[in-house]
Amino acid sequence: MARAAIPGRLAWRVARLAEARQETETARTLVFDVPDWPGQTAGQHIDLRLTADDGYTAQRSYSLSAPDRVELTVQRIADGEVSPYLTDVIGLGDPVELRGPVGGWFVWRPGTERPVLLIAGGSGIAPLMAMIRARRRSGDGTPFTLLYSVRTPSDVYFADELRRPDHGLTVALVYTREAPDGWPRPPGRLAPADLAHLGLAGDCFVCGPTGFVEAAADLLVARGHDPRRIRTERFG
């Protein structure tokens, strides 16, 4: 019997690296050319597969950090297997395999008309950045607030873009290890005070390492946020 056909979006496609830029000392943003890419909803992710010349394969999931093109921002993990290849080795024109986009729960669509609170821990900014860009690109007037927790000032992804004025978007950074000179808040983990001034209405998207997401979601619920309006995505 013939093997069942897999719908196009879930089939593996060959993607070639088209652009790359260093995002921080340990993170790199990669843009891939993917023929017949079906497009995505902000917040979705892809599966990426690498094959070595002896047939060995490794597969990982990465969030898309753009609302339109296939852009990933990859953090190098010191003893990682896939991330060091993507941050240090792969060159322009080199192929990888991708499938997706996938995921329909941790997504934001323009026109939702509820204020949005985004909370990112470290590289958890990626899918939230896709939402920020989707909002800007569509001219949607929904108020957005981004609370972005990073270790030090040099760990901020998309730093220039987040500094540029974007009407209706408020960005607040939380530094956990080291803050810029004169920063009013001493370095430390996300705390109730960091959320005190935020509105309670609307949708919350929280993305980051598991421990960070649990802590942030607990803070939101303790503040009275409706748990059904909190969507989370954890990694690692």
């Binding site: 879930l10 996938v102 329909g104 941790f106």
Partner: protein
Amino acid sequence: MTARDTGTGYVDGNALAGPLGELFALVAMDVTAATGRCVNCGRTGPVAALAVYDRAPGMVARCPGCDHVMLRLVRTPDAAWLDLSGMVWLRVTTER
């Protein structure tokens, strides 16, 4: 439908081709937004909120409330094994 007139009161599984095929197509579009109910504690929530253990021979999705196994997925070279016995139901929204 003539199959209903055979007097047995039931038809065979071929009748599921359309309805179940449609369901799996919807699941293929996105399973993470589907809602499931835990067979152990009755907690209900989206598939996206399950605790998934994937550093294992397969993927094991557990209830975030009671840790009961709600879903297992094993891929072999030529098959996929899906165990949903930990769910009372899986609700997939359709177009109205």
